[in-house]
């Protein structure tokens, strides 16, 4: 019985494809035990659970096989080399007709051939490769079916002892007497061992008892690459990165004077600058704590600019961690500007789960998406800041801070395509390349990679903070990457040269 891996249907042992679902039975050749139903590897003769024999008749085979030495055994044809045939020949005279076993044999042979049909290909085939490889432990063993394997060992061992060598030896040694008497022998004196022999023996012992590295098994599959980076080399690289990050502390961040806002940054700053007092902006904090380090400085710069321009801000998030970040950020801004009050100047609506479906509701009604706000748990209409703001269309600008291109795409596809407004995406540098096409098509008004834009934005908005912009560090980091690239190739060339000289 072969059990289908896909649908668990139990098929007869000669099936090639599952009777129920049509799935292939080629890779999973396991047999179900006829008595307890447990699945067994194909090469098992006995069930690994109840120890019943898996292939009907195999048990007798073995019983009879074990009888072989007792009866005078007729050795099989010495010329037979093929293992399978030897097995058959050996089994045939003793066991006699065994239709079931032959059937499995043929079936298995067929399985093997279908495998080859798929694999016959000029190029290392499709499912071909798998078969050859997985075939090694499972299917090849099956092709030489496990069932007659047991009789095989006696048949290989016995032929040399054509007669029973122990015949007539009974009673030669009086065991009972020997057992009751005290031993009269002294231990044999060990022969004197030469130093070389001693050394050899120790060497042999150490080799034989040595435990091989376990993962060698895996490395057979994918040859072990010469370890590219030693522990020390790795530590050195990491130290370089750390030093690169700390460069501005030593250099005083001189290159930040060279910092010039890019066009996209300038245009966003201009857009915000041109907003009249009292207009409203929706900000979505679609990033988690992991990437906050990158996005937060830019979000803070934009938030301060909005606060200074007296624009109403409504914040929300489609990332569970984003609400906490928004709150933290606005606590900072409110701490700096005493007039900036929650509920009047800004509000945090909360977390909107299920990006696609959730965002779609923003087009119709904010109140439907957010029953209450996040901080004061009041309904949205109770908040003064929400005056005349019922849906996303009522906002003058929408700014999305994101660390996942999917969330920006949801904003474009689910919200912006439904109701028109200008959408600014301020994202991590990692996802910026994936969103560039949307900027080109005009769906995104602005696309800014956050990494080092905070300083640029501060310059563009004229609200520069007297702090380091860390620009030296980025330059140093580029150098580190360049050094890495050179180092790895130099190391590579050296190993190759060494190999070549070894080869000669």
């Amino acid at each position: 019985m072969i059990v289908c891996a896909a649908c668990n249907h139990r098929n007869p042992s000669d099936a090639l494809v599952c009777e129920a679902c049509g799935g292939s039975l080629e890779h999973f050749v396991y047999r179900a035990c006829p008595s307890c139903g447990a699945l067994n590897p194909a090469e098992n003769v006995f069930c690994h659970r109840c120890f019943d024999d898996l292939v009907p008749g195999s048990a007798e085979t073995i019983v009879e096989a074990s009888d072989i030495p007792v009866e005078s055994f007729v050795p099989s044809e010495p010329s037979v080399t093929d293992r399978e045939e030897a097995v058959r020949e050996a089994a045939a005279p003793t066991v006699g007709e065994r239709p079931t076993s032959d059937l499995t044999l043929e079936a298995d042979a067929e399985v093997a051939t279908t495998a080859e049909v798929v694999s016959e290909e000029t190029e290392p085939g499709p499912l071909a490769e798998p078969q050859q490889l997985v075939g090694e432990p499972i299917e090849r063993l099956e092709a030489a079916p496990s069932e007659p394997e047991a009789p095989m060992q006696p048949s290989e061992l016995i032929p040399e002892a054509e007669e029973d060598v122990l015949e007539g030896l009974e009673g030669l040694v009086p065991i009972a007497a020997a057992a009751t008497q005290a031993h009269a022998f002294a231990l044999p004196v060990p022969p004197s061992v030469s130093e070389t022999e001693q050394h050899d023996a120790e060497l042999f012992h150490s080799i034989a008892s040595e435990r091989g590295p376990l993962r060698d098994a895996a490395r057979v599959v994918i040859p072990r690459r010469a370890r590219l980076l030693s522990r020390r080399g790795r530590a050195l690289l990491y130290l370089l990165v750390l030093l690169a990050a700390l460069t501005p502390v030593f250099t005083g961040d001189r290159t930040s004077l060279l910092l010039r806002p890019r066009d996209s940054v300038t245009s966003l700053a201009r857009d915000i600058q041109s907003l009249p007092t009292g207009s409203a902006v929706l900000i979505s904090f679609d990033y988690g704590p992991a990437y906050a380090g990158e996005v937060d400085p830019l979000a803070l710069a934009v938030g301060r600019h909005l606060a200074a321009s007296q624009v109403r801000v409504v914040a929300m998030s489609t990332d569970p961690g984003g609400v906490g970040l928004a709150e933290h950020l606005y606590r900072t801004i409110a701490g700096e500007m005493p007039d900036y009050r929650y509920g009047e100047s800004y509000a945090i609506l909360g977390y909107l789960p299920g990006p696609e479906a959730g965002l779609r509701t923003l087009c119709t009604s904010l109140g439907k998406a957010f029953k209450v706000d996040y901080v004061q748990r009041r309904t949205l209409s109770e908040l003064p800041v929400m005056k005349d703001l019922t849906s996303v269309q009522d906002f003058d600008q929408v700014i999305v801070f994101a660390d996942d291109s999917r969330s920006v795409r949801s904003w474009i596809e689910q919200v912006q395509s439904q109701c028109n407004f200008s959408l600014h995406a301020l994202v991590t540098a990692a996802i910026e390349p994936m969103l560039l096409p949307y900027q080109q098509s005009g769906q995104l008004s602005t696309l800014i990679a956050a990494a080092h834009s905070a300083g640029e934005y501060e310059k563009a908005s004229g609200m520069e903070e007297p702090s380091l912009h860390w620009t030296d560090a980025y330059g140093a980091f580029c150098l580190v990457l360049l050094v890495t690239a050179i180092a790895t190739n130099v190391a590579y060339l050296r190993t190759r040269a060494r190999q070549r000289s070894h080869g000669q």
Binding site: C21, G22, S24, A38, N40, P41, P126, L133, I222, A290
Partner: protein, 261 residues
């Protein structure tokens, strides 16, 4: 009756939906035909993908050496768009777990999402039951670390480096955490394979893993491992690919000649 008429009217009113519906019908038709053929055992030769070949070998080696394989299924969530990637992780786990179960050996699966965890629990329990060792199904062979991707990375890297594993297979929805796990386990000298569909993730993973499946290849895991019926979808994808390319060429020619917008 009225809702039906409304529905048909609204269907006809949008051009995108007609195109989409036509493409979908074509896709379904091809899918049914090719899957039927694949089920009947019709051969469909496909190119070799080294990583899947290695998974086959690794599983055999794992059974011989008794060292478990770790399958990381990532953070995709069933019930959302990310289901497809998550399902491929589950398929690879299914393959590894069934082999491990039939030889009564250990396996480790990790995920960052509860829905995949519950599906994987079903897969593992079924595999153990079928092998006849239902009692060997223990909760700690499947682990949940999450739900944040980096939390998953930290938890998983810790789990696979604590115990000796033969190989680390990461298939499913991954982001930057693929790099995290790959590099953290790098010193452990275990074979690392994997794949993801998102370009941003795979760019990092292929730099750190020994072998990698890229983009669409991830969705072929079933066909290359143990599900012959999945070959039908590969044939469908190939046909659709050719049609899409022809459509692009034809439209580009039309657009250049000024017939389109």
């Amino acid at each position: 009756m009225q809702p039906l008429i409304d529905a048909i009217e609204s269907l006809l009113s949008s051009s995108l939906n007609i195109t989409a519906l036509a493409v979908l019908s074509l896709f379904c038709l091809l899918f049914v035909v090719f899957t039927g053929r694949a089920k009947r055992g019709r051969r469909f030769p496909v190119r070799a993908i080294p990583a899947y070949k290695s998974i086959h070998q690794l599983v055999s080696r794992s059974l011989e050496s008794g060292q478990p394989i770790h399958v990381g299924m990532g953070s995709g969530r069933v019930g959302t768009e990310a289901m497809s990637e998550a399902l491929m992780g589950l398929t690879v786990f299914d393959y590894v777990a069934r082999h491990a179960a039939a030889y009564d050996q250990a396996v480790l699966g990790t995920t960052a999402d509860g829905t995949i965890l519950s599906a994987a629990q079903g897969v593992l329990q079924r595999a153990r039951e079928e092998a006849g060792f239902a009692e060997r199904y223990a909760g700690n062979e499947l682990r949940f670390y999450g739900p944040d991707p980096l939390v998953y990375a930290a938890g998983t890297a810790g789990a696979i480096t604590r115990d000796q594993h033969l190989a680390n297979i990461l298939v499913g929805r991954f982001g930057h955490e693929g790099l995290w796990i790959g590099e953290a386990a790098q010193g452990q000298d275990m074979v690392q394979l994997g794949g993801a569909a998102a370009p941003g993730a795979i760019a990092l993973m292929q730099a750190t893993l020994d072998e990698c499946v890229i983009g669409e290849e991830v969705f072929a895991a079933g066909a290359y491992l143990h599900r012959r019926s999945h070959l039908g979808s590969l044939a469908t994808q190939d046909t659709m690919r050719i049609l899409a390319i022809l459509a692009i060429i034809a439209s580009v020619v039309m657009a250049s000649l000024g017939y389109l917008g």
